[in-house]
Amino acid sequence: MPHTIIEKIFLAHGAEGAEPGSIQWLGLDYRTARDFGGASVVQNLRENVPDKPVADVKRTFFTFDCNAPANTAGYADNQHSCRLFAREHGVKVFDVDAGIGSHVLIESGLVKPGTTAVGTDSHYNILGALGAFGQGMGDVDIAYAFAHGRTWFEVPGSVKITLKGLPAANTDAKDVTLYLCGQLGAAGLLGQVGELYGEWVDQAGLAERITLASMGTEMGAISLIIPGDNPDFHASPGAPYERELEFDIDGLRPQVALPGHPEDVHPVHEVIAQGSVPIDSVFIGSCTNGRIEDLRAAASHLRGGACPPQVMLRVVPATRQVWQEALKEGLMDVFMDANGLVSNAGCGGCASGQIGMTGAGEVQLSTSNRNFSGKQGKGRTYLCGPSVAAASAAAGELVEPEAKS
C-alpha cells in the first residue's frame, strides 16, 4: 500500500495502522525537556512514577536553551531541579552552554531520516529538515514519554508541496520560507504534514532545510518534512495526499514579514518602495537562522566595518559548535568590527529576551520565526533572512542585499 513519509515513520515505530485521523501509539527514539517546561516534567515524574521515571537514559536528555544562563531566580530553580533529577537518574544534560536543544540533537548525529522525537519545544518539528518527525508537547505528555518511551498521536494527513524554479541569487533559504508562509497563511497547513519537493529543495543544504522546516509551526503544520537520504522513508509513488500544491519561486526576491504576523510577507523591494524603513536593532540567530551558514551570509554583508551608530546589532549562534566555527573562521571579528554584540549560544533574543527586548517605537529586524506583537517587547519586529538583516544593519535601513559573492 502506498504511504506518505509520516505514515511510513508511524508504521516503523509501532503504529498498528497509518490511516490519517486514526490515533496510534508511537515509539519515540528520543525524548527531551528544555528549561521551559522541564521542571514541570520532573514534578510529574516524581509524583506519578517515582520508582522508574526514565525508560531509557540513553534516549532521554535535558536541553537548556530558553534562558541560558538563567537570568531569573525562577528559571535558575527550574534548571537546577532538572539537573538534580538528571544526576539521580543518569540522564545527560546539555546545559546552558550547549545551545538550542533541537540543533544540539541534530549536531550529535542522533537524528536520522525516520527518527521520532518529542520535547517541550513548539519548534521541535524542525527535525523535519532531516526527514525525521519531531513534535513539541506539554509537560504531562513529555513526562509520560520520559517514563514510557512512547506517546499517542493522531496520524496527520499529508500535503505534497512542490516549489518550482530557483530564487534570485541575493536570497537566503529564509526568503523562500517566508514566501511559503505568506502564501499558505498562519493556518494553511493546520494539523497536516507538508512534504517539500522541487529543484531548490533538492539542492538545499542542511542549514537551509532547517530554516525551511523551522517555520512549519507558523503555517499551522504538525511538521514540514523534507525527504532525507534513506529511501525507506520516502513517500511511495501514489501516496495518498490530502492536497497537492505548487508554488513558483523562480526569480524570487528577498522577503520580509511585517510586524505582528509571520505570514504577512512581502518582497523587500515593494516594502521600501512605499518609503524607507529606518531600523534601530537587528537580531541574527534563533533555531531558524543560527547556523554557521547563516552567520557566514550575515558576515558577507558586514565586511565594510562599523554599522551606523544608531543600529544595535546582536548575533547569537545556535550552538556552542557554531560559535567555535564562527570564531575560527574570523566571523566574530567581522561582527565585532560591525559594532555587534555576540552572546553565548542559545535561543537568545527569541524566547524571553535573553539578549534584550525592544522598547516602544523601536524597529527591529529579526531572523527568528515569530514576531507576534509584544513577544519581544513593545517594538515593531520584522522577520527576514540573515542577508537582509545584515545588509540592512550596515545601511541603517531596510534594504535588499546584494548577491552573495
Binding site: Q24, N44, M137, G138, V140, D141, A143, H148
Partner: protein, 172 residues
C-alpha cells in the same frame, strides 16, 4: 464509564448560538496560571467568557458541558481542562477542539467528545442528557430525543479514560 448522565450547560451567546473559538484565556485566564492545585481551580472556570462569568457558581458536580467549534484553542495550559474537573464536570462535548486541549483532556482521562453536527436548538441548558461513549450516541432525556452522532472514541482515548489518566495506564 460507558454511559454518563447529567444536567447540561450549553455554551451559547445571548442569541442562542454556540460560541465558537472559546480560547484557554476565556476558560482559565492567565492571571490564575500560578495556581497548581486542581482543587483550587474550579472557581475560575469560564470567568473570562462573556455571559458565563458566574458559571462556577451555577455548576454542580455531575454536570456536562456542551460547546461550539475549536473549543480550547490557544495555549497549552492544563488548567483549562482541570478547572472543569475540579468542579466535577463529568464530560465535555464540542463541535471540535483545539488539538492541544484535546490531548490534555485525554491525558487527564477526562471524557471529551466531538459532535461535528451539533444543533444548539436540540438541547437547552438544564436539560438532562445521557452519553453512550461506546455506542457514540447521546440522548436528550428531558425531551426524549436523540442527538446527532458523536465521533467515535479512539481505542487509545478509551484505554486512557478507563485507566483514569495517561499515567495510570499500565506500561505497554
Amino acid at each position: 464509564m460507558n454511559t454518563i448522565k447529567g444536567r447540561v450547560w450549553v455554551l451559547t451567546d445571548d442569541q442562542g448560538a454556540l460560541i465558537p473559538n472559546i480560547d484557554t484565556d476565556m476558560i482559565f485566564h492567565n492571571r490564575y496560571l500560578h495556581i497548581t492545585k486542581l482543587e483550587e481551580m474550579g472557581p475560575y472556570a469560564l470567568d473570562n467568557l462573556a455571559g458565563w462569568e458566574d458559571f462556577a457558581k451555577k455548576c454542580q458536580p455531575g454536570d456536562i458541558v456542551v460547546a461550539g467549534g475549536n473549543f480550547g484553542c490557544g495555549s497549552s495550559r492544563q488548567q483549562a481542562v482541570d478547572c472543569f474537573r475540579a468542579l466535577g464536570v463529568t464530560a465535555l462535548v464540542a463541535e471540535s477542539f483545539g488539538a492541544i486541549y484535546f490531548r490534555n483532556a485525554v491525558n487527564a482521562g477526562w471524557p471529551v467528545l466531538v459532535c461535528p453536527a451539533l444543533d444548539p436548538a436540540a438541547l437547552n441548558s438544564g436539560d438532562e442528557i445521557e452519553l453512550d461513549l461506546a455506542g457514540g450516541t447521546w440522548r436528550n432525556l428531558t425531551r426524549g430525543t436523540d442527538l446527532p452522532a458523536l465521533k467515535a472514541v479512539s481505542n487509545v482515548q478509551r484505554e486512557i479514560m478507563a485507566a483514569g489518566g495517561l499515567f495510570k495506564l499500565a506500561t505497554g
